[in-house]
Amino acid sequence: MISARSSLPLALRARAPSLTKSASFVFSGLAAFALAALTLIFLVQSLPVWGQEGLGYITGTKWFYRANLFGALPMIYGTVVVALIALLLAAPIGIGAAVFTSEFLPQRMRLAVKITIELLAGVPSVVYGLLGILFLRNWIYDLFARFEPLSGDTLLTAGVLLGVMILPTVMTLADDALRGVPADQRRAARSLGLNATETVLGISLPQAKRGLIAALLLGLGRALGETIAVYLVVGRQDNNLPQNIFSVRAWLEAGQTLSTKLGGSETNIAYGGSLHWAAMVGLALILMAMVLAVTIAGAWQRRTHDAASL
């Protein structure tokens, strides 16, 4: 392609748009268009439920579709709690592993470990879900037996499983962020007499702070949208909002998240233009807004980080 272009007259060559440039323009335009169209469709199709319930759609605590009662709060609660547990688990382990690979391992070992962990991100989520059913459910059920959970299907089970699933994302992005800290800084620290631990705690981690936050936010974005693995272990119990939303004991109750509600067979029942369908689409809209907000915040942190380290 390069030779073909260079044989063109000079004036034409300058003006002819390159295939790569126009193709990437078209495709990113397509992606933006798809997102905008999706949001618009969700918004239009969910209008009836906003009309009937108003803001009560988000703050309502009861969802009984045959009584035309649609309150999404228990599902928003479930989504947030499950994602939070996942993050609490993935943050220390992911960043800890990233410190190890980026600060202590020689380059070749680092790549080997990093690639192995990234491979975990490619395992289909239904496989995680089945492992969750086979092992994790029973472990949680037995381990917390003295708190008497009704079964192994709990928000905690789903959160732990999700934590494992987002670990590769958090770890590999955190590793990138730490590698972005210039080696000169570390050498300077060491020459001032700081030991390896002090260098990590005093230099690398603070300097990579924005990148690390971005890693966590992008992991969180993945956690919010995950469906099938959560679906298999969360219990899918509607309207199970605890009295006190900060109660940790409630993590051992079954719950429902926005994505598991959408993944269930209720979507088939709702299909066809009714208020019920509008309510289901509204859930999708809320979920998309949550994921978008977190992802954009994450991408923003990453960008400003990149600019600062130039």
């Binding site: 009984f64 579709y65 045959r66 009584a67 059913i133 086979l134 459910r137 029973n138 059920y141 009704l150 079964s151 192994g152 299907d153 679906y231 298999l232 219990g235 899918r236 119990q237 509607d238 309207n239 199970n240 079954a254 269930g264 067979s265 209720e266 979507t267 088939n268 029942i269 299909y271 066809g272």
Partner: protein
């Protein structure tokens, strides 16, 4: 130019190949014999068949309604609501066998002495009025009710029996289970658990099928005889559904499932084949 032509050709080929695949979706109950039938046809006739269980019976019906599949699998009849939702689709349910739904419990409940429930007791359990098994003659253990998702064929059969009409069943907020495998696994691994499940999936080792106690005190078990004569109240037909008369690959598949070889698969998975259903019964 050249690239775009070949991309176009590729796309055209892909959509052509797509059209050649026989797609089937629906009930996890019907899936067992259907998936095995598909396996045989794949090997013997080199047919391209995919069998999926997205959303259970109602998933099968809506996938057929949307034209995503050529055959829907269902363990419940097509309702008037379904027909109203897809007015252009001619649902053509083809009866391939019969099955029964049972209330199934975990081993500790069974061993604790509970082996049959009346309709009233089942309703009380479902509505959360009974919270401990000893209230209905079982062990001193909390009740954990895993509800089959509404919309699943199993749930509809249960609701028909317990409340006369699925629409009259009170709306409850219980933990829900989807496919049969998930149901069996979760009931088997939880103390005090109960759920609704195809009786042939109750293995008698980790999960046990309860009998139905009638008002006169008779206990009806989901035996082949009781299912065939509809004496057992939660029996149900199994269907493969097409849009209009089956044609082409779909017809080949249906003919196979109705042939002696296909009916043998229905029996193999614990369901009743058509010739086992007593003639004369409704």
């Amino acid at each position: 130019m050249k690239i775009s032509t070949s991309v176009f050709a590729l796309l055209a080929f892909a959509s052509f190949a797509q059209a050649d695949v026989l797609k089937i979706n629906g009930s996890t109950t019907v899936n067992l014999p259907a998936a095995e039938g598909a396996e045989i046809l794949r090997a013997e006739k080199k047919m391209d068949i995919t069998v999926d269980t997205q959303g259970g019976s109602s998933g099968g019906i809506s996938a057929l309604g949307d034209g995503q599949v050529q055959i829907g699998m269902s363990s419940k009849p097509v309702s008037d609501d379904d027909r109203a939702k897809y007015p252009k689709v001619k649902f053509n349910p083809i009866h391939i066998g019969e099955d029964a739904v049972a209330m199934i419990v975990s081993k500790d409940v069974w061993d604790g002495g509970l082996q049959a429930l009346t309709k009233q007791q089942t309703q009380d359990l479902y509505e959360g009025k009974v919270k401990n098994w000893k209230e209905v003659g079982g062990p001193d253990e909390r009740v954990v009710f895993f509800n089959k998702e509404p919309g699943r064929g199993t749930w509809e059969v249960f609701a028909h029996w317990a409340y006369g009409d699925p629409k009259k069943a009170p709306q409850v907020s219980l933990p829900e289970v989807g496919g049969n495998e998930e149901t069996r696994n979760k009931v088997g691994s939880t103390r005090g658990a109960i759920s609704q499940l195809s009786s042939s999936w109750a293995d008698g080792k980790k999960v046990f099928a309860l009998g139905v106690k009638t008002e006169s005190g008779e206990v009806l078990q989901p035996t082949p005889d009781n299912i065939a004569t509809h004496k057992y109240p939660m029996s149900r037909p199994l269907f493969l559904i097409t849009n209009g008369e089956p044609q082409g690959e779909a017809k080949t598949f249906l003919d196979f499932m109705l042939s002696p070889q296909g009916q043998e698969l229905v029996k193999k998975h614990g369901y009743l084949a058509l010739d086992q259903l007593k003639t004369g019964s409704p």
